[in-house]
């Protein structure tokens, strides 16, 4: 079970309070985790990845095990602690704007 931590505004859109737990079919990667997240919470489609390009939105970052993996290939397998649920998959909004 993958634990996903959403930023505040996406929690509100998805109507969730805490972490989201996802069962991800096949290998756990950034792509498969976001795919599973969007299936469970279709209101998040287009808010993390662009509808057309499927690219990560510029002001969002993905962190696992204290590392920023935003620029890695979305198909790289996630670390074991994330796969086992020991560590969360973090979606972080850039600290920017006014």
């Amino acid at each position: 079970m993958i634990r996903v931590v959403l930023p505040y505004h996406l929690k509100n859109l998805a109507h969730v309070d805490g972490e989201v737990e996802l069962s991800v079919p096949g290998a756990a990667t950034v792509r498969s985790v976001i795919d599973a997240l969007e299936v469970r919470y279709p209101m998040l489609r287009g808010t993390i990845r662009d509808h057309v390009t499927r690219e990560r939105r510029p002001f969002l970052r993905f962190f696992v095990c204290q590392e920023d993996i935003s620029l890695d290939s979305p198909d790289v397998p996630l670390p074991e602690p994330v796969v086992t649920g020991a560590e969360p998959f973090l979606i972080i909004g850039a600290i920017a704007g006014g």
């Binding site: 930023p7 859109l13 489609r45 287009g46 808010t47 662009d50 509808h51 002001f59």
Partner: protein, 397 residues
Amino acid sequence: MAGTGVRVLVGTRKGAFVLTSDGKREKWDVSGPHFGGWEIYHVKGSPADPNRIYASQTSGWFGQIIQRSDDGGKSWYQPGLKPGEPTKSPEGMQIGESNKFVYDTSPGSGKPLTTHQWYDGTQHPWEFKRVWHLEPSLTDPDTVYAGVEDAAIFRTTDGGKNWHELAGLRGHGSGPKWSPGAGGMGLHTILLDPKNPRRMYAAISSAGTFRTDDGGTTWKPINRGLRSQYIPDPNAEVGHCVHRIAMSRSKPDTLFMQKHWDVMRTDDAGESWREVSGNLPTDFGFVVDVHAHEPETIYVVPIKSDSEHYPPDGKLRVYRSRTGGNDWEALTNGLPQRDCYVNVLRDAMTVDTLDPCGIYFGTTGGQVYASSNAGDRWFPIVRDLPPVLSVEVQALA
């Protein structure tokens, strides 16, 4: 005669607010923020069903969201994702993608337009950024037009679940010449002709005004008579920075325009425009609107200049013309007449249909001012909202 009430819909930099009052428009209730922390570019109700309201919710982080209310703004949901209702068809297909605005580049549309002019003169891909304006149909609550940045017009016919571009606007021929201004290349105004359901108007920052007479399939520029400083060709077909246009409800061939500089009018559905700035202290500004019952009574809020973006002399003054332009009077009763340096943005003025006509506008300082007697006296409904982006009003029967 006063109706039973009004509902003012306010979009701000940090959420939406709903202001309600009875027909006297003296005592007000304020609800909100709805969608707190998000930029709400526009909130507008359906003329065919006042309980149906649409909102454009945007964010630099998370992109575009469309929200819909079926109960007059008490509760909201993303179209196609109503709690308790299936989000997929029996075949497993997503029912709606209400925030998916994809430009039509298909050869099948006949308008496979992909680029417009960029600041350096090169061609640049069209990139969807946000919905600036939502214009519900006059007759069908499920049909809504959306003006977006980069400039294009979209339509939904299923209550906001799915949106499709009316590609004839970008594709009519001048699209590659459009280029963004400092505020972005947004399609900010959509006007529906109440007497001719096939006719509508759209206005685009730094491009100009356009009209369709066939329900949105084909469009043409209607900018003859506009003069814009720094445009070498005074008769340029496009390139004029139109800030807002407004329609006389009883004379829909008469339109008024607040251009970047100049207040203009047309009496032939945009075929020709003439200047009516007259004795205004400055003819720069953003808003323009028309009295609901007097087609020659119009309102603007002069702003000092495009370099300063605040009212002249620190005085917030609405100017009213009862002669369709040229002769203007300052309306100041109840408005701050010293040390006021707010702006009034293009979608932030509206009029109700009660009698006497109510006028409403919001400021970048967070005030929403109202007049329940056509502008003779003003009062703040609320003073300390986030910067106001848009103001609309519904008269409730």
